[in-house]
C-alpha cells in the first residue's frame, strides 16, 4: 500500500470520483490550470477539461450558490473555498439554502455537494488574521449540514469519497498543517470511510482526550509525553463533527472517567463546548474529575508574529500540561 500525504489522498479521492462519475465537477478559485493554491486539483484541468474543472471569480457566495444550482440540476459539485477564512461571504448560501434544501422540500430534494475548505493556523508561512481561522463551530451548529474533518490520509480519501457520494451537503474541513506533515498508507482501490463514527486512535485508561484534525496530532504527541509520567491517555479522533458520535465519546468517558477536549478554535462556544455538554448530561455519574478543555484563547484571530501565534495555538506541551493536571485531580 503506498504511503502518501494527506493532500495527495484528497487529490486521489477527487480524481477517482471524477473518473467514476461524470457528474462530479470541481469549481473554485485557481482550481483550473494552476491546480489549486495547495495543488489539490493538480493535473485535473488537463485530464478533465474546462467543462468539469471551473475557475471562478473571487466570490465565495457565488461559488457556493452556483454549486447549489448545479446540485439541483443533477451534478455533483465539489466547491473549493481557497481558505476557510473566506467562507463567510458564502455563509448565507450554505446555511440558508444548501443545508435546508431537504427540509424545505419535505425530503423531496437533496443538495448533493461538497464544500472543501482548508482551515487552521500555526502554519510556517504565517497565516495571520486572514489565513488561520477555524470555522467548524459556525457550521456544526446547523442542522442539515454534515461537517467532517479528517486526520489520517486514509480517512481523508475515504471520508471525501463518502462526502461526494452523500445525498446532502457536506462541509469538508482540511487542516492546512496536515496537508504535507502527515503521511500514511492509503489503498489504491476504491473505499469509503463512513461519515459519522469516531475512532479511538490510542487506547488508554487514565483519561480520555477528544480532538480532531491537527489537534489530534498534538494530542497524540502529548499522550506520548504524558505516558512517561504514567498517564495513559485514550485519544479519540472525532472525524465527523456533525453528526457527532456520542456513543464512542460516552463509552470512552465511562472507561477512563475523565475527559479533556482539545480544539484550536476560540475557547468560548467552540465545538468542544458541545462535547463537554454531552458528557456532563449523559455521563455525569462516570466523571471523576471536571470536564476540561484546551483551546485557543478568546482573542479575535491567530496573530501574525511567530511568538504570538505560538501562544494562541494549543500545542502538545500545553495539552500534556492539562493531562497532568486532570490526571492528578
Amino acid at each position: 500500500m503506498p504511503e502518501m500525504r494527506l493532500l495527495d489522498a484528497i487529490r486521489q479521492a477527487m480524481y477517482e470520483e471524477m473518473r467514476r462519475d461524470p457528474r462530479v465537477i470541481v469549481l473554485g478559485e485557481d482550481v483550473g490550470p494552476k491546480g489549486g493554491v495547495f495543488g489539490a486539483t493538480d493535473g485535473f484541468y488537463a485530464e478533465f477539461g474546462e467543462g468539469r474543472v471551473l475557475d471562478t471569480p473571487l466570490a465565495e457566495s457565488s461559488i457556493v450558490g452556483v454549486a447549489i444550482g448545479m446540485a439541483a440540476n443533477g451534478m455533483i459539485p465539489i466547491a473549493e473555498i481557497q481558505f476557510s477564512d473566506f467562507i463567510h461571504p458564502a455563509f448565507n448560501q450554505i446555511v440558508s439554502e444548501a443545508a435546508r434544501m431537504r427540509y424545505r422540500s419535505n425530503g423531496g430534494f437533496g443538495c448533493p455537494m461538497v464544500i472543501r475548505a482548508p482551515y487552521g493556523g500555526g502554519v510556517e508561512v504565517h497565516g495571520g488574521l486572514y489565513h488561520s481561522q477555524s470555522v467548524e463551530a459556525f457550521f456544526a451548529h446547523v442542522p442539515g449540514l454534515k461537517v467532517v474533518t479528517p486526520y489520517t490520509p486514509y480517512d481523508a480519501k475515504g471520508l471525501l469519497k463518502a462526502a461526494i457520494r452523500d445525498p446532502d451537503p457536506v462541509l469538508f474541513l482540511e487542516h492546512k498543517r496536515l496537508y504535507r506533515a502527515i503521511r500514511g498508507e492509503v489503498p489504491e482501490d476504491d473505499y469509503v470511510v463512513p461519515i459519522g463514527p469516531a475512532t479511538v486512535r490510542r487506547q488508554g485508561t487514565t483519561l480520555s482526550v477528544f480532538a480532531y484534525g491537527q489537534m489530534l496530532h498534538e494530542a497524540l504527541r502529548a499522550s506520548d509525553e504524558a505516558a512517561r509520567d504514567g498517564i495513559e491517555a485514550e485519544v479519540v479522533d472525532l472525524r465527523t463533527l456533525r453528526p457527532l458520535d456520542a456513543e464512542t465519546i460516552l463509552a470512552s468517558v465511562r472507561k477512563t472517567n475523565k475527559a479533556l477536549i482539545v480544539y484550536e478554535d476560540n475557547r468560548f462556544m467552540g465545538f468542544g463546548a458541545e462535547v463537554a455538554a454531552l458528557i456532563a448530561e449523559e455521563a455525569f455519574e462516570a466523571l471523576d474529575g471536571p470536564v476540561m478543555r484546551v483551546a485557543g484563547p478568546d482573542v479575535p484571530a491567530v496573530p501574525y508574529a511567530d511568538t504570538l501565534a505560538g501562544a494562541f495555538i494549543p500545542t502538545a506541551a500545553k495539552i500534556a500540561g492539562a493531562m497532568r493536571q486532570l490526571a492528578a485531580y
Binding site: N257, F284, E285, L287, D288, G289, Q325, A328, Y329
Partner: protein
C-alpha cells in the same frame, strides 16, 4: 477480652436473619455505630451498626448463613483498639484538610462507587485522598475496596450441623433428575412459614358478597383525570381502604386478634396492603388509615407501592398491621379466599370489577359487579358479623357520592 456481637432483634415477629454481606473483615478497626454487616430479614434489608468500638477479631457466621435472633455472629476486641493519634499530634499523612466548612469534594463517580460497594460516607470521608488537594479519587476508592475484601478467604466446608429433626420430616418434594431446586429467598421462606402457621392455627371461615360498583366507577371515571393533574393516582384500592375503614369502625371486632387471654381489640386501624413484587408479596401498612381522607389514602398507597417496587421499605412500613386488604382483582381473579395474616382476625379480598347482567326492578341490567370476600378467624367472631361487615362496605360502595 473479645465481646460477642449478636444478631439483634430487628423487628417484631422476626426470628432470624440472613448474613447478606460483611462490611468488615477480621483485623479491621470498627468504630462504634459504623455499619458492620448487612442482614436480610423477611422483608427488608438492614445494615447493622457496630455496638462497640474495637477490632473485628472473628466472624462467627458466613455470608449466606441464616441465624436466629440473638445468636453470636462476630467477635470484637474492644481493648485492643488500634492506636489513634494523641490529641494535639498531627497525623503524619492524614487526609489533606478539606476546604473550611465543607466536607471533602467527592466526584460523581466516587459517590457512585461508594454506593455500589456500600462504603458509608463517614468511612469514605476518612480515606486518604491521593488527588489534587487531598481529593479522594476513583483509585483511592477501588484500593480501599480491594483492601477491605482482602485475599479470597479459604472457605471451609460449610459447617452445617447435621440437624436432628424433632419429627420425621414430611416427605418433601424430592427432586427428580433434571429438576431444579430454587434456593429459598428470605422473603419466600417467610411467606411460607407465616402462611403455613396461619392455616395451621387459625380456623378460617369465608363469606363473599356481590357489590354493584356503578356509583364508584362513575365517580372515579369523572374525577380521576382531575385528581391525576393534582398528582394523585385515584385507584380503586383507595376506595376499598376507605370502605374497609368505615366498616371496621362499625365492627371493631373485625379489627382484632385472638389470644388465649381474650380477644384483643385493636385501637389503631392499620391496614396492610398486599403488593406483588418480583420477589414475592409485600404487605406494607397504612397507619391510622381510618383518619385519612380518600386523597390521603390514595397518596399513602402511591408512596407504599412505589417504595415496595423500589425495595426501599423500612421495617416500620411492614409492621403493625391490624387488618389486611388484598386485591387479586387486578390480576383478574373473580373469587378469592385469602389466608389471614397471623396476629389479625380477618383479611379482605377485592376481586375484579366485571360487567354482569343483573336484575334491577324486575328487568335485566348491566352493572359493574365486584365480589367482596372476607376470610376471618372463626374463633374471634362468627358469620353473622362477617356478613354485616361486608354489607356495611357494600352499602358504602353502592351509596357512594361526591363529598365522601
Amino acid at each position: 477480652m473479645p465481646v460477642e456481637i449478636r444478631l439483634p432483634q430487628l423487628g417484631e415477629s422476626i426470628h432470624e436473619g440472613t448474613i447478606a454481606r460483611w462490611l468488615k473483615k477480621p483485623g479491621d478497626r470498627v468504630e462504634k455505630y459504623e455499619p458492620l454487616v448487612e442482614i436480610n430479614t423477611d422483608k427488608v434489608n438492614v445494615e447493622m451498626p457496630s455496638p462497640f468500638e474495637g477490632v473485628l477479631v472473628e466472624l462467627l457466621a458466613a455470608e449466606g448463613d441464616v441465624r436466629p435472633v440473638g445468636s453470636p455472629i462476630a467477635l470484637i476486641e474492644t481493648s485492643a483498639v488500634a492506636p489513634t493519634p494523641a490529641a494535639g499530634t498531627a497525623p503524619a499523612a492524614g487526609p489533606a484538610p478539606a476546604a473550611q466548612g465543607v466536607g471533602p469534594r467527592l466526584s460523581p463517580l466516587v459517590r457512585r462507587l461508594a454506593e455500589q460497594h456500600r462504603i458509608p460516607l463517614s468511612v469514605l470521608e476518612t480515606l486518604p485522598g491521593s488527588g489534587a488537594g487531598g481529593r479522594i479519587t476513583k483509585e483511592d476508592v477501588l484500593q480501599y475496596v480491594a483492601r477491605r475484601a482482602g485475599p479470597p478467604a479459604p472457605t471451609a466446608a460449610p459447617a452445617v450441623p447435621p440437624a436432628a429433626p424433632a419429627a420425621p420430616p414430611v416427605p418433601a418434594a424430592a427432586a427428580a433428575p433434571g429438576d431444579e431446586v430454587v434456593r429459598l429467598s428470605p422473603i419466600r421462606r417467610t411467606i411460607a412459614q407465616r402462611m403455613a402457621q396461619s392455616k395451621r392455627e387459625i380456623p378460617h371461615a369465608y363469606g363473599v358478597i356481590e357489590v354493584d360498583m356503578s356509583a364508584v366507577v362513575a365517580w372515579r371515571e369523572a374525577h380521576k383525570e382531575a385528581w391525576r393533574r393534582d398528582g394523585i393516582a385515584l385507584t380503586y384500592t383507595a376506595f376499598f381502604v376507605r370502605a374497609a375503614c368505615e366498616a371496621l369502625r362499625a365492627y371493631p371486632i373485625v379489627n382484632a386478634a385472638w389470644s388465649e387471654e381474650g380477644i384483643v381489640l385493636r385501637k389503631a386501624v392499620n391496614i396492610g396492603i398486599g403488593i406483588a413484587v418480583d420477589e414475592g408479596l409485600l404487605v406494607p401498612v397504612i397507619r391510622h388509615a381510618d383518619q385519612l381522607s380518600l386523597a390521603g389514602v390514595a397518596r399513602a398507597l402511591d408512596d407504599l407501592t412505589s417504595r415496595s417496587r423500589a425495595g426501599t421499605l423500612t421495617l416500620e412500613d411492614v409492621q403493625g398491621g391490624t387488618f389486611t386488604l388484598t386485591n387479586p382483582g387486578v390480576f383478574g381473579s373473580i373469587w378469592s379466599m385469602p389466608i389471614i395474616v397471623p396476629g389479625q382476625a380477618a383479611i379482605l379480598a377485592t376481586d375484579a370489577i366485571v360487567r354482569r347482567a343483573v336484575v334491577r326492578d324486575d328487568a335485566i341490567a348491566i352493572r359493574p359487579i365486584m365480589h367482596l370476600g372476607l376470610s376471618f378467624d372463626h374463633r374471634v367472631f362468627d358469620g353473622a358479623v362477617a356478613m354485616r361487615f361486608l354489607n356495611h362496605m357494600k352499602a358504602w360502595f353502592e351509596g357512594f357520592r361526591d363529598g365522601d
